[in-house]
Symmetry: C2
Subunit: 339 residues, 2 copies
């Protein structure tokens, strides 16, 4: 199995990407990697992490990089030789089985949308991610690939996430919740009210509307939303967690007694940090694409890159995409109502 | 000045409401209160908090209560004798200058929409609330009154919040941000892209798109959004803060050394809790209504009820509504583009 790794993506590229790739090569003996990026810039790190002449590695040159501040369409208009676009082309042409990139999310979505296209029966690909809750973690779809959605999109997202959860996370009959502003059926906006109607008729474990607070209490295994409000939820969680950690440090450093207390409890704070660690999950798969694409966080560490590669391999090995197509076909009569 | 208090609203009614009303009577000698609720149920608490025969209090009977699980339209269809509906009628008829209720938000929005109507030039009333950030607090509008919005609604919300911030919070030229999924101008959904265009032309301190994470770093004084994504942000913050506190307790109680550390630092944790305390703010004013209406959190404590009454009085005294009408008139040429 061959996986293209965009080594130029993310805040700490290419070092972090290549270190993560080296870990993946070591840990997963079935995987071949195609490192995509500027050859000259990659050379140093490939040497440094001892994989320059590794038998399961090859390098494909990409002249440019889509910078985080550039618009999403850069990957398909301005910079057709960017590492993201080159990865998407390799995937399109079947030269690799999957791609992984911690680069510009919008640019990856745009490039794969145009080049790789969606699976039969899927209108839009959606980002699925994982967030912690009181019992463990829950899946969230769409985390930001589609800012404007129809009820049909949301129903497809729910089904794709259901397949992902049962296939990759071994959750049997995952509880699917719809992100809304109240628990009752009638609460929500036009989009969620229409989506609710269809989801409640379908042969899935639909638990109804779920709110931004109850989801952290474990109200559902999968939280379905449009990419705008899903992204708001994701970034609000990030921002508030940072703020609370900042406050905690502030109040604990205010006098010597508290500092002593904090030193005694320091392992507790280390554990607390681990609860929120997303690097185990690795990256957000872009579900519904006619190919496998995992998007990592811009601030991915080597472990996150390694795990994004692992998730890509798992999606391929477990035939995730075939199962998505099959599940959508089974549910065609329900989806038809929305067309 | 007369303020109607819905004593039947919220999780701990009517005790908490009447205790809060008693505090307000004591603290604000200019305020007269009209306590609305089931007379027999109120009597015990009015005696208990020593205000049964207070010279600045009167009681208006309301036979029923809109329960939290009931639909929003209950206040204008099923239960026209509910405490919320009675308050809204008193406000409509000019028998009170303002109302405050920690009851069913949707039901209050519906009742005031039908009975009290909006100010001249305002299409929709919106809930404004306050959340903590690294520097202090920021205002958020709409916190959940309107689940589907137009760009015109959002621009009006921005202007109403601007008046509120300068008038009640003494923030001169408040920085107005638009909730979106990326900082750049082109990022967002159809609604925010269109709203961005207008806001960026207007004579306001518009700081552009703000994300769910950067808002907690102090990116803006006012965060404008539709009521759906605004409510997602609000409830996600609540839910995640609860989860982090839960985790903190868990990791700190795991062994005797940590417990000792936690005891030494216990005042730090008390302070941490205060950072998130919303009872100082009191309640969320429903801006744009042709009357003053403050909606408290369902779990309001007496201090929050007292402060909701305080905010209602301030809005009245500072002629907030007159100033909103005036500001919207000044900006008419910009709003006209969206009609």
């Amino acid at each position: 199995m061959k996986i293209a790794v965009d080594a130029m993506g993310g805040d700490y590229a290419p070092g972090v990407c290549i270190e993560g790739a080296a870990q993946a090569l070591y840990d997963f003996p079935d995987i071949e990697l195609v490192i995509v990026g500027h050859e000259k810039k990659l050379a140093y790190y490939l040497e440094r992490y001892g994989i320059a002449r590794h038998s399961r590695i090859s390098v494909v040159h990409a002249e440019t990089v889509v910078e985080m501040r550039e618009p999403s369409t850069t990957s398909i208009r301005g910079k057709k030789d960017s590492s993201i676009t080159v990865c998407a082309k390799l995937l399109k042409e079947g030269k690799v089985d999957a791609m992984a990139s911690p680069g510009h999310t919008g640019a990856i979505v745009a490039a794969t949308k145009v080049l790789v296209r969606t699976l039969p029966g899927v209108d839009r690909a959606a980002l699925i991610t994982s967030l912690p809750n009181i019992n463990g973690r829950f899946l969230q779809i769409d985390a930001g690939a589609n800012t404007d959605c129809t009820p049909l999109n949301l129903v497809q997202f729910a089904l794709m996430a259901e397949v992902f959860a049962s296939c990759l996370m071994n959750i049997e009959s995952p509880r699917i919740g719809l992100l809304s502003v109240g628990g009752e059926a009638g609460k929500g906006n036009d989009l969620t009210k229409e989506t609710y109607k269809i989801l409640s008729q379908m042969p899935i474990n639909f638990v109804g509307n779920v709110e931004g607070n109850t989801i952290f209490e474990g109200a559902a295994d999968i939280l379905v939303s449009d990419g705008f409000s899903g992204n708001v939820l994701l970034k609000t969680s990030e921002g508030l967690a940072k703020l609370l950690i900042h406050w905690l440090k502030e109040v604990l450093s205010r006098n010597p007694v508290r500092v002593t207390g904090a030193i005694l409890a320091k392992n507790a704070f280390k554990e607390l940090k681990m609860y929120g660690d997303a690097s185990e999950f690795g990256g957000a798969p872009l579900l519904g694409l006619n190919g496998i694409c995992i998007i990592g966080h811009g601030s991915s560490n080597p472990k996150a890159v390694r795990n994004a590669i692992r998730v890509a391999a798992e999606c391929h090995n477990l035939k995730l995409n075939e199962k998505i197509v099959q599940r959508l076909q089974e549910c065609q009569p329900f989806l038809q109502q929305l067309k």
